[in-house]
């Protein structure tokens, strides 16, 4: 069961939202509502499901309703209709006291402009959540001190917020949120007010903290790079409507309308995508024991210049067509002596690094998973296709034919099937087959 369930949330701003709710549910548009009733449609039928221990990014431009949505989670804004379930409890039904308790214990929040108390020291600010809960001063300050240290602010306890830089102030905000030990962390454009270097630093820090704390984090941003970097899943809002929801790869590789595409325009894809995305699943793989004649037959059958050779699930090297022909002529028993070394990269390598590789040499590159097991061969055409910002289209012209793609037959001993690294991209792998065939 997911940690947070958002069910059919509607939010209409105005004097009599309930009067217009039915009309909106029937599909009245934002513009129509505004023209007819002077009411603003904030959120329209939002349903999300957020897994425990994940970072869930809600993204959109200003006015898309993302900040409104995050304020529904702890009811800083009341929904017009809909439910929000946290651990199965409907937050929208909580009474005043219960809601205060809920905010104290279950959710904490980090704000875009920090929201620190200017008349209190860093330490007092970090302890604020605990003070509100009525925790004793000594205990609260001890906890606050610990968390300030965790975010790298040891020694700044007695400074006032205006004596700190923006990045440091946001660290205080983070420490304050973490100090209450709430399981859910809401971050409302938490890093948007920071300069790019500090932002990156804070993102790293958040990821590092998250790897230890395993909180459920709802992160709001207008920055797609940030969303792709942090999010386990991403939801994209536009004009109060949810227009796409999925893993970063889903969004990047198959944007489902122009709005998302426009968003993706400026993204540096080579930083987000990795070698795993540019793999052609291997249909033909040879082993050390393969007879040269069989190898030659297979390679000729698909017109391949070379084929990967496996040793168990590990890549042993590569066999060139010319060597195979020679081996058949000289009657070697198996191909083991002909196998040449091959460069291999882990699937998690960023495409930018892979690109460097490919520019430096025209040797084929193998891709391995985290256990060093062979996944497949890197496809040059695919790398090029992925890093160009145009949306992927069927691509038949394969890298000027200079680089033969991987074999593509229904061989039984296909290790690619076993390693599940690339299972998410089913639609993409069909394209991979296309490119492979044309080799």
């Amino acid at each position: 069961m997911s940690k947070i369930e958002v069910r059919n949330i509607y939010k209409i701003f105005g004097k009599h939202p309930e009067k217009w709710l039915e009309a909106v549910k029937q599909g009245m548009s934002k513009e129509e509502l505004l023209a007819k009733s002077q009411h603003t449609l904030g959120l329209k039928d939002i349903s999300l499901s957020i897994e425990e221990g994940s970072i869930y990014v809600i993204m959109g431009l200003s006015g898309s309703g993302k900040s409104t949505l995050i304020r529904h989670f702890n009811r800083l804004i009341e929904p017009t209709s809909g439910q929000i379930l946290v651990d199965g409890t409907d937050v929208t039904q909580l009474g005043k006291k219960e809601l205060e308790k809920f905010r104290q214990k279950t959710m904490s929040m980090v704000f875009q402009r920090f929201g620190l108390l200017p008349h209190k020291t860093t330490l007092e600010n970090a302890a604020y959540g605990l003070n509100v809960q009525g925790v004793g001063k000594a205990k609260a300050q001890e906890t606050a001190r610990y968390w300030l240290e965790q975010v790298g602010l040891a020694g700044f306890e007695n400074q006032y917020p205006n004596q700190l830089s923006g990045g440091m102030q946001q660290r205080v905000g983070l420490a304050r949120a973490l100090a209450t030990d709430a399981e859910i962390l809401l971050m409302d454009e938490a890093f948007s007010a920071l300069d790019p270097l500090i932002r990156r630093e804070m993102q790293n820090q958040l990821l590092e903290l998250q790897s230890r704390l395993n909180k459920t984090i709802v992160f709001i941003t207008h920055d797609l790079d940030e969303a792709l970097r942090l999010g386990n899943r991403i939801a994209i809002l536009k004009d109060g409507e949810l227009i796409q929801e999925g893993t970063p790869e889903d969004i990047l590789l198959s944007p489902n309308n122009e709005y998302v595409e426009a968003f993706l325009q400026d993204v540096n894809r080579s930083k987000i995508l990795n070698a795993g995305h540019a793999v052609n699943k291997t249909r033909l793989a040879l082993t050390m024991r393969t007879r040269p004649a069989l190898a030659l037959e297979r390679m000729k059958q698909y017109d391949y210049q070379f084929a990967p050779v496996l040793d168990g699930n590990l890549i042993a090297g590569i066999l060139h067509l010319s060597d195979t022909e020679q081996a058949v002529r000289s009657g070697l028993r198996d191909i083991s002596s002909l196998v040449k070394d091959i460069i291999s990269v882990p699937a998690s390598t960023g495409l930018d690094a892979v690109l460097t590789h490919m520019l430096q040499s025209d040797q084929p590159v193998a891709v391995t998973d985290e256990n060093d097991e062979f996944i497949g061969m890197m496809s040059r055409a695919k790398v090029v296709e992925l890093v160009t910002t145009d949306t992927p289209s069927t691509d038949n012209g394969n890298g000027a034919g200079s680089d033969p793609e991987n074999p593509d037959s229904a061989s039984d001993d296909n290790p690619a099937e076993k390693s599940a690294n690339t299972t998410d991209h089913t639609d993409n792998s069909s394209q991979a087959d296309d490119t492979g065939k044309s080799a």
Binding site: K101, F111, G115, L116, L117, V132, Y160, T180
Partner: protein, 285 residues
Amino acid sequence: MFPEIISSRSVRDSIDGFVDYLVMNYADGLNSMSEPILAALVWLEQLLRNAPWWSIIILTMLLAYGMSRRIAFSFGMGAMLFLLGAMGLWDAGMQTLSLMIMATGLSIIIGIPMGILMSKFNRFRSVMLPVLDVMQTMPSFVYLIPVVMLFGLGKIPAIIATVIYAVPPVIRLTDLGIRLVDAEVLEASRAFGASSTQQLFGVQIPLALPNIMAGINQTTMMALSMVVIASMIGARGLGYEVLLGINRLEVGRGLLAGLGIVILAVIFDRITQSYGKRKQIRGAR
């Protein structure tokens, strides 16, 4: 000629009748209600007048230092008070000072809660704003008459008239200060589950404090400007000296007493302002 739509005589008569009715039926009750205030005022006045002059000066200097943390400033304040005594106005000055402290204290006690209520309830605010306008613009003599009728001549009507005249700034600026509190800070405190009391005392009032202090400062200034009028209904002190000066055409007496009022005003003003400033500098974002 403007046509007579409402007979002003009948309106006047009915107002007069109403005030008479109040005086007949409630004067005693109101008087006994004001008894504790009078007692406190008399006690304060006795204290200030009977205390050795140097102790008052030292106290003022300590207060100035406590508010501003500047030594030269507090010596300056002490010197001003010394000057007041040197002009032969010590006793009158202490009488005025006690009236001032009392009136300002009452204004703060009434004004800050009113300001908080105004900031919380828009409807209350829309009622209060015109009332405050009336309080600030209505000539004070107009309400001096009924107040004197109800309480008789003396210190209590002087205090009441002063409070009516001086309380609007502290109400307005408390309201304004709370409304100006950074919405995100307040939202943060709500997000951490603060109750409305915790929000008020932990966030709103502390952050509104520079504005509230400006309001208190304005209130003391306005209260001081009322002392001459208050002296007409029986409050003694520097205002009474001015009044004597006017009645006897003694320009010198009037001028010196006027300077005495200015000195008190400057002391009050600088001390309250320096406190607000110090808060503001520390709290600046």
